[in-house]
Amino acid sequence: MSFHIEAITVLLNGLQQGAIYILLAVGLSIILGTLKFVNFAHGALYLIGTYAGLLFALEINLTSGLLQEWGYGTLGLDLGYIPALLLVPVVVFVVGLAMERWVVEPFKDRPDTDQILVTFGLAIVVQEVFRIFFGSSSLPFSQPAWAEGAPQVPFLAGIPISSWRYYVILITAVLVAIVYLLVEYTDFGLVVRAGTRDPEMVELLGIRLSRPYIAVFGIGAALAGVAGVVGGPLNPVNPTIGNDILVPAFLTVVIGGVGSIAGATLGGVIFGLTYAILVATFSSWAQVGLYAIAAVILLVRPQGLLGEEGVAP
């Protein structure tokens, strides 16, 4: 196989794997940078997004869990993937607002350890609730029929990557661009950024920060929901996926730098590419290599690649 096909394959695989982490890390990063809140339940939002996406997009047959015992063996609206992509962010946005109100607000001024404990506990509760209702088994979340197989276009022919993975890269790029523009070029973004630097001064200017903050949390949650919908068909769907994805997502944030959208994106790209390159070269070291590289980056730049000193909590 020619070298250029191999190289393009690795590049695209890396970008795609990074894309899911970018969607999660951007949300985590703006929540951490703005609200100074360590959200270990971010994976749970991803979990909710995945299951919601599955239920909007397809019909599924449950083989275990309470729902199945109650006679709801077949579930789902079977609306297709596009409606799922539009509806799930709304649902998870609302879940995010509720979480901000009932979990973040009471714990905002408490130490990081308290925040970690309460959100991690919440994540476990969410996981177990899904397990009780949907069972432990993995549910099939097939890729959309229109995105199966390798794309049959001249430039990409012969590259063994399914079309859905290209869509994942595309959707991520569009969403991250929108969030970036929102934060950098709107009044909303201005207030949020100012609040990040000096919340007291912003409040003194007569601006109530609680509303932009709750919106930031909602946006972060919605991004995790989208990650769940686009990532669902790439991975098996079961109640543990939220916890499994949490550590790599946090790693992406710290590599890139807390509070920086560009940093989270760069972190995700580095994370995905490193993994894909290691699999192609020293596959047995892929997992270890990932953490080694993260450790080296943090030794050289403790605030992360694009993080600003003093902003990170």
């Binding site: 275990s64 432990s136 197989g149 399914s162 499994d244």
Partner: protein, 454 residues
Amino acid sequence: MGSNGGNVDRRDVIKAAGAAGTAGLVGLAGCSGGGGGGGGGGGSEYPVLGNYPIEGDTATLGFNVPQSGPYASEGEDELRAYELAVDHLNNGGGWVDSQFDDLSGDGVLDYQIDSVSGDTATDADTARQSASRMIQRDDAIMVTGGSSSAVAIAVQELCQREKVLFMACLTHSNETTGANCVRYGFREMFNAYMTGQALAPVLRDEYGSDLEFYQLYADYSWGQTVQESMNQFLTETAGWEQVDSVATPLGTSDYSSYLSEAANSGADVLLLDHYGLDGATSVSQAVDAGIDENMELVVPLYNRPMAEAAGAAIEGVFGTVAWDSQIDNTPSQEFLQVFQDEYDRVPSGPAQLAYSQTLQYAAAVERAGTFYPPEVIRQLEGYEYSNIGMGPETMRACDHQAQRDVPVVRGLPESEQQEGRYFEIINITSRDELGYACDAGPAAECELGEYGDE
């Protein structure tokens, strides 16, 4: 049953004496026991060993299965079958009535059968802790379970040390009855070596010789031995050549990078040595990426929950299975019927293993006339049977590996799949064409260890 208050007291004395390590007192207490408990688990002629003698009139079996992790679906089905087996042992029904002459359907040796279950989480350490709890706290007289060879090997080592029988359920690594075999462990399931022997000629006839193959394998005991055995037999029997073989971590959820490397290798055939959810995921992702258009896919070992999860992706994919409900003989169809009546679903191969291993143990206890482990072991060693739907079998004495047939299957297209029927059986390879002598293959590395009464 013949036991009374005094009998139970005697057992307590025996146990206490055993704990104190006073061998002489054990002998004395045994002699003074007198009649009544001759056939029971508290038979007076044997000393304390492991969880023998059993206290009370209930014998507890420990079902140690994955209820989470990549093999959770298999574990769930095993547990259903275990519970069915306990019900049949206590109340009759299923194979207890029709296939196992040794069993009465009224408990085992006048003991009611009870059970405890644990979650191995498809992890050897968790499984060991769970089994240890069953042995120490619940006084399990036998432990069974599996679905990961690393788990089975870890648990059977523990069982050997604790002198509690381990009836392996789903474990396919060569090591289980090879380098890691133990006197206290028995395995009905065939191993990777036999899968290689059964699959290689079929693949050669189907795809031709002089092909190149590439393997992705789960990076632990099972995957490593499947990789070795498939390499050995595809090279020797089919005349194929291995381009490369790459390890993937257990529980990988995204195989795309590994699959792309395999696709770009130029090999003709891709072997996915993954099981359970991992197997379903890797074969689905291979098909999603269009790899099956240029390479033939093979999944050396698969089962019904896996095929169900993989859906359309298994079309035309060859592999072997432990057992399948389509096998047309009386025991197989009887098991299908009772399982379906109870759970309204078609049982998987792992379920058949779970059910048969529980009855196999109980029948050996009945033949031995005691729960005393060394006697039960002797009943199982070299035992000939033909009552679990896989034709005539021998539980070989030298390595505790069942000598049995191996079904080779091929995945059906999605349009022909229906509940419980996901592949067609290509052939049931006779045990005469498989296996190896006691001083060859994996058995050459097996040293069974002590009975405990030497």
